[in-house]
């Protein structure tokens, strides 16, 4: 390409892609981080994400207010989270299985109810221009950032602080590390997990609303290609640290932008392989950082996936 930026276009495109693509991963992984810290895993967040995308878009279309859509998407996520938590509260019920079930249920429900909203054009969220200082259009385009992304970036350290330094965070971690200890201290384990799962669902629903209301910014049935599931993988990858969830989401978003970016500068071979880059990278890092002998640092003791 004889573009003014030449090969510098690639890192810029990856940077821009990281910002654009990462937000749903960020919200879902932060939400899942909270849930998993309470000792439960909710694999159903993929369904929650899709349900959030659908309900956010539908409400934005019906009400004309995309922000109301975001709120309703969060509330839909809370409902699915509550459902997960309630079913898992029953004795002998496995949380991973319930997650897979809710993934199916959330997806089916969103497809069913979302039929009438594939066609209409809803109002979507505005972008904030952070690139006003630059003359290069690529830079300006890359810095068109949505408020939700900024909220997500602020949320990561806030959640970290919440978990590390507040009493509630301590309760959450205690419940996640040892339900027996928490019970002995007089905490209601099921109640704490319910709150944590509902909060996780709320964030995942908002992540879905970002997909339908900002980027790519429309609702259809192929909107999520497993982003919710990948975000759950990112949490383990990020070792249950909200700040690392942020970096992992950005990295994942950047690699997702790799395929189209390389093609547009003339690297046209093997784009399926480049499209698979995020998955290969995640697997590679997981292989490199996990160990069979010790539990992962930061892993909640009660979590079924690490037992």
């Amino acid at each position: 390409m004889e573009g003014e930026l030449g090969l510098w276009g690639i890192p810029l495109a990856i940077f821009a892609g990281a910002i654009r693509v990462s937000t749903p991963f960020l919200f879902v992984s932060l939400g899942e981080c909270l849930t998993e810290k309470s000792g439960r895993i909710n694999l159903g967040l993929e369904g929650t994400l899709i349900m959030g995308a659908m309900s956010g878009y539908a409400i934005s279309y019906l009400s004309g207010s995309p922000w109301l859509g975001v709120l309703v998407a969060g509330m839909a996520g809370m409902l699915l989270g509550a459902l997960h938590a309630c079913i898992c509260s029953l004795p002998r019920v496995n949380d991973i299985a319930v997650g897979i079930a809710l993934m199916l249920f959330g997806t089916g429900l969103a497809f069913y109810l979302g039929k009438p909203f594939v066609q209409p054009k809803a109002d979507i969220l505005p972008a904030v221009e952070f690139g006003w200082w630059s003359d290069i259009p690529q830079v300006r385009a890359a810095l068109q950032v949505n408020v939700l992304f900024i909220i997500g970036v602020i949320l990561a350290p806030v959640i970290l602080w919440f978990l590390r330094s507040t009493r509630w965070g301590l309760i959450l971690r205690t419940v996640g590390d040892s339900a027996d200890a928490a019970r002995a201290m007089g905490y209601d384990v099921l109640w704490v997990r319910l709150v944590a799962t509902v909060a996780g669902g709320f964030l995942a629903g908002i992540g879905g609303a970002f997909l339908s209301l900002f980027y790519p910014g429309s609702w259809n049935e192929s909107l999520s290609s497993g982003q919710g599931l990948m975000a759950i993988a990112l949490v383990i990858f990020a070792r249950w640290n909200p700040m690392r969830c942020l970096w992992a989401s950005l990295l994942f978003g950047g690699t997702a932008a790799l395929g189209p970016a390389l093609q547009s500068v003339g690297v046209t071979q093997g784009y399926y392989i480049f499209n698979a880059a995020p998955y290969v990278l995640t697997l590679a890092i997981m292989i490199a950082t996990c160990s069979p002998r010790r539990n992962l640092a930061g892993a909640p003791g009660e979590l079924s996936v690490t037992k």
Partner: protein, 364 residues
Amino acid sequence: MASVETAAVPAGAGLGESLRRAAEAASVPLGSLVVAGLVFALFIWAVAGANPLEVYELMYTGGFGSWFSLQNTLQRAAPLILTALCTALPARLGLVIIGGEGALVLGGLAAAAMGLALHAASPLIVQLGMALAGMAVGAIWIALAGWLRQYRGVNETISSLLLTYIAIAILNQLVEGVMRDPASLNKPSTSHIGDANMIGLIPGTDVHWGLVFGVVACVASYVLMSHTTFGFAARMVGGNVRAARMSGLNVGLLTIVVCALGGAAAGLAGMVEVGAVHGRANGSLAIGYGYTGILVAFLARQNPLAIIPVAILLGGINASSGLLQRRLDLPNASVLVLQGIIFVLILAGETFYGRIRLFRRKEA
């Protein structure tokens, strides 16, 4: 993991005890199914304004109501039986594998490659070679997830999912690249394995042999898991890894072998897709049989024998989807909603095992 129960009857238990268990194992899921049916009826009535009785009548017509519908159902059930084993077998060890789709896709690709390599040989040799290639590649793919779990501590649920995405990328890359039949213009595919090499239909039916493979695989898995020392060892690992290690079991090897068996089943499903349906490998291998298999395995409570009726039930639901669309104008997602409700309620039903008075042991 708590969901995986050892279903075998303890030694020394009498006939009454096994009857008690069988009655419980049948009535709890059936109860869940009935409740799911009621919930879905309510949903359909409230959201779509359709008459639930009419919906169920159509589902019966479309799935089971005639010889044609029944064959339709059985054909759809065939790949699900095999992919369900990919989740159900490792579940005996306490592993949650959700990567059957990847094993199916690569198994199909390997089968097509083998079929093309051998195409001059006699059809039986070609078919055997294809089956072996499909099973071997599927086995390696899932064994990889098991190996990573055992020796690198990587969570198998996540790694098997990642491996599925990677498998689909490999399929697309090869089918549109080096393995592409230049004549497959607008649907990139490998070359055809040749009509003579296709696996035919079960005589007198429209159903291909994949169904028989599935049933045989399920029965074999059941015997292996419930009536051999190997199966006993596997269940022991699933019950308590530490105890299993202390009693001298090679947990790593067991994990890898059981994962490989599951992967081989899904790989065989891929081979059947190529050998009985398409005749070639292409993107149509990745249409979600692997994911539906997860659902089947969980609904069957990871019991290989229960997989068969559950797969047929789901096959029937899927078979009737078209009729619901055509007659009642219901969206095709209705069956997804129904499946989701059934799945959720069957899992919620887990809690009733051992808690219903009628089924409790007398001496307890």
